[in-house]
Symmetry: C2
Subunit: 259 residues, 2 copies
DNA sequence: TCTAATACGTACGTTATGGCACAGACGAAT
DNA sequence: ATTCGTCTGTGCCATAACGTACGTATTAGA
């Protein structure tokens, strides 16, 4: 039985790089989009944390204590089946927030949230987030909008899992991940990518090999770079574009609606 | 290319049965769970409508005009891929509501909502729902909780699509559907079920045939009955139980939280 | 520089599902 | 009762992805 290794990641727990000073809440798109008066309630309580690869931000059934707004970290929302296999239902990077159930009222989920790209995030405590959310102001509107974008991503994943090939899915996943990082290089083993996609490691190897042969990407031992973005987009299914478009529509330049 | 026929359903558009009088908003679990003072704002504006098989309650990208609270109808939330294939991302029956994007702020979705079991629903107009939602009272809490339950269902579907067999998925789908109807009999062709699950009709035939041979169900031309529920649950993946449990946890007897 | 651990490549058989084609069976309407 | 449209059963082949096994390459650290 093939079992997810996500929760077993044994990794060099690198200390956070020294340049914390380069971090700023505005690097997170949600925090940046927040009108000043709404940000005020959170600002003082934002805590900068370094998230290491493999850190589990929340576990199935356990109450969440914080909401996280990633800046350079990327977090994967996972489901693990009874048989031990896993899938990523959605990814969260600097465009979003981890901890939706906090304000939805459930406090827990049957899924888990695991860091798949180490980096920084700002976090706030559960009680404060709930309090600010209940003010029914800009924060609430923004978070609800974001939730809808997240739901779109999850739906698209469900469709993608059913109908698209591993190569298409890998392409989609790479594009979505690249959009969340500044470096232009994904640092991740094929084994971990396979866990995200819920496929065999060998299938990822084959797909990556194809993509490299086609000149879309280049990779070496735990590092992937995109060489030709357009070509990669052509090999991906429409799911990438759909998710992107919907995120743009919901979170884009549009001001928070004052209704 | 195999294409979803959901939107092409050509069906005898049966007139609604005469016993409308048997309908009542309380048949919908959300409306029933609503505290009196919260229900008051909606009550007068609820409109009873009969939903016919194949009716599309909303289409990709088109603004929703109403929210629907099914009583005897069942609605399928679908995604259609670029290639024309489809999947159900979630189903909505008397336990829920169709039209989450109304209060999430997006007004539209990239998916669609199609009636898969004809029946009744109460609906309210978009503006009214938004207004009542923004009161930040019991209705808001209830709808947010329900949204989380729905998200759970979608996530579970995503995992299920990846890892479980057609037979397991058919079993899960049947159980979820049975829970939403009073008659104990699902009225639906295998072709439509195949569209829901995003698989071939022949795969459904094979799976249904197995389940019948095992004594779990019995079926004839467009009608399926469950003979042995426990046996069917054993053949389903854990996804059914997970979704059920989470719905119970979030929406169960618990009173709306007054925080 | 060597070694061990880790990551990636490849290969072979198995299986579930898909695509397609067509036959048989049912049931509603004439 | 017959007819015709619809639904279901079955068979055949193609293929994508899986399970497993093992070999090779790269990197970190001694």
């Amino acid at each position: 039985m093939r079992v997810s290794k996500l929760s077993l990641v044994k990794t060099r727990r690198l200390a956070p790089p020294a340049q914390d000073s380069a971090q700023h809440p505005q690097l997170n798109h949600l925090l940046r989009a927040l009108p000043e008066q709404d940000f005020a309630g959170l600002g003082d309580h934002l805590e900068l944390v370094y998230l290491r690869l493999g850190d589990m931000l929340y576990e199935p059934g356990k109450p969440l204590q914080h909401a996280y707004f990633p800046t350079t970290a990327i977090v994967s929302l996972n489901y693990v089946t009874a048989a031990g296999t896993s899938v990523e239902t959605a990814g969260v990077g600097n465009e979003g927030m981890v901890g939706i159930p906090l304000f939805m009222g459930g406090n827990t989920t049957p899924g888990s949230a695991v860091v798949h790209t180490a980096g920084y995030a700002y976090r706030v405590e559960r009680a404060l987030l709930k309090q600010e959310f209940s003010r029914a102001g800009g924060l609430q509107q923004l978070l609800l909008r974001y939730t809808q974008a997240l739901v779109t991503q999850i739906c698209q994943n469900a469709a993608c899992n059913r109908h698209h090939s591993v190569e298409q899915q890998l392409s989609r996943w790479l594009l979505l991940t690249m959009d969340r990082i500044a470096s232009g290089q994904v640092v991740m083993t094929q084994e971990l990518m396979a866990n995200m996609l819920g496929v065999r490691r060998e299938s990822v190897t084959a797909a990556a090999s194809n993509l490299q042969a086609a000149g879309c990407i280049s990779y070496r031992r735990g590092h992937i770079s995109v060489l030709n973005r357009e070509a990669l987009e052509n090999r991906a299914c429409e799911c990438y574009a759909m998710v992107k478009k919907e995120l743009q529509r919901l979170m884009g330049e549009r001001q928070v609606d004052r209704q």
